[in-house]
């Protein structure tokens, strides 16, 4: 929904700039996660290094969004949907920054794994990666398009990711006992799985913030009720 123009043109510009920075941060975070995971799957250290390098820019964007958000609150004292847009942009940026941190951790672990012979158990990570990234992309989409139904639909999808993570951890712990030689490798994979599980948690937070921004509804910490 596009709101009618504000009487103060500057306000609309400030709000648009804030939103653009959030979208920019989201695409950088997506790229960083993709690079980290591709670096793992393709055993490519350059991609891992790129993922780690991306983090700096994302951190700076987080600070910029916080500064701009506070500036808008200070100058314009927005209310209603405008206030929710500012608050949700600031909350999104914090979640995106933490997702990017997960990308950095994954890239570091991937580089360690790349030093050793490949482990077939890496295949346990792929479905988690796909699930986490689809949740992430949809949550950003729900925010960008103010799509309440899409936002709501993301929350229960986190359960599947949690299940995948639990199953993968179980399998990897079992492999550690069977093949103690590769203990460090399996441990790195467990950590990567945990990072992806966190990515899903942050995607859920973003989806909840998207619903709040669009519909002023706080859907956090509630049992899932399918929308009619």
């Amino acid at each position: 929904m596009i709101a009618p123009k504000h009487i103060l043109g500057n306000f609309d510009e400030a709000l648009a700039a804030l939103r653009n920075n959030v979208m920019m941060m989201a695409s950088l975070t997506e790229r960083s996660l993709d690079r980290a995971l591709e670096g793992l799957f393709k055993r490519n250290d350059d991609l891992c290094a790129n993922a780690i390098a991306d983090d700096e820019e994302i951190d700076q964007l987080e600070k910029q969004i916080d500064k701009d958000g506070v500036d808008i609150l200070l100058r314009y004292q927005p209310v209603a949907s405008d206030l929710r847009r500012v608050v949700s942009a600031m909350k999104l940026s914090s979640n995106l920054e933490r997702m990017a941190d997960q990308a950095t951790t994954i890239a570091r672990r991937a580089r360690k794994l790349n030093r050793h012979p490949p482990l077939p158990e890496i295949d346990l990570i792929r479905p988690m990666y796909e699930q986490a990234m689809s949740m992430f992309k949809d949550s950003v989409d729900a925010y960008a398009r103010e799509d309440v139904d899409l936002g709501r639909s993301i929350v229960p999808r986190d359960d599947k990711l949690d299940d995948l993570n639990r199953a993968a951890s179980r399998k990897l712990i079992q492999r550690m006992a069977e093949d103690p030689e590769q203990l460090r490798g399996y441990l790195n994979l467990i950590f990567i799985g945990r990072c992806l599980e966190r990515v899903g948690d942050h995607a859920t937070n973003i989806a909840e913030d998207a619903v709040y921004a669009a519909a002023a509804e706080d859907i956090r910490h509630q049992p899932f009720v399918p929308s009619s």
Binding site: A3, P4, H6, L8, A80, D82, L83
Partner: protein
Amino acid sequence: MVSLLKMPDSLQQHLRRETNEPPNEPREIAVEIDDVDFAYGAHQVLFDVDLAIPPRAVTAFIGPSGCGKTTLLRCINRMNDLIDGARLTQGSIKIDNVDINAPEVDVVDLRRRVGMVFQKSNPFPKSIYENIAYGLRIAGVKKRRAIDEAVEKSLRAAALWDEVKDRLEKNAFGLSGGQQQRLCIARALAVEPQVVLMDEPCSALDPIATAKIEELIHQLKSEYTIIIVTHNMQQAGRVSDSTAFFYLGRLIEFDATEKIFSNPGEKRTEDYITGRFG
């Protein structure tokens, strides 16, 4: 039951939280505005206004200039009677279930029960003491001691006592703008009204004086029903429990202030409070 419909559920819930009232208890209504049309001569300015103002709470009227909010405020103590041709053409306004426009209602008594504070402070050209004693004398209080007590009580209630207690006999015009406005509030409180109407009481004051008046409003609401007209959205957000938004003479939305300013039900309200109007 009709009255309750005019007070949205979210507002009733907010008021219950504020006052720790048990749920499902019907809310009292301080001022019941029922389907009111109002006209200045042939020019109609209010259309079908239905509103139940809760007691011992602050209700803010907001809306662009000319939307009818001040006219409605002035209807509540019949200040509009002073304007030729101004009249209620439909509906009624009730306080304590009595139609204030009924012929048997004594308008002087009504204005004692419904005090008013104006945009520009308007103390009488008398001493601080006399500004407050005047209304009491009109109301028939003769004993000096009773008047002394009421003057102190009202000045304390208006958070002005400590600033003026040593110069009560000095002319009220020597006070600052903010003090003069609080003196006017003290003057309104002296006759122990049920309802206090405030028509942009802070629009001529600096931020510190404004904050003092707002703090005062907050303190007064435990005893009085306060209705405030304001153009300052932030002020409405800060001081009021419920907010009514008017546009072109109609009540567009009435609800708990937190609801109006976080998630209004009407697009016109949202457009107005976010500054996207017209």
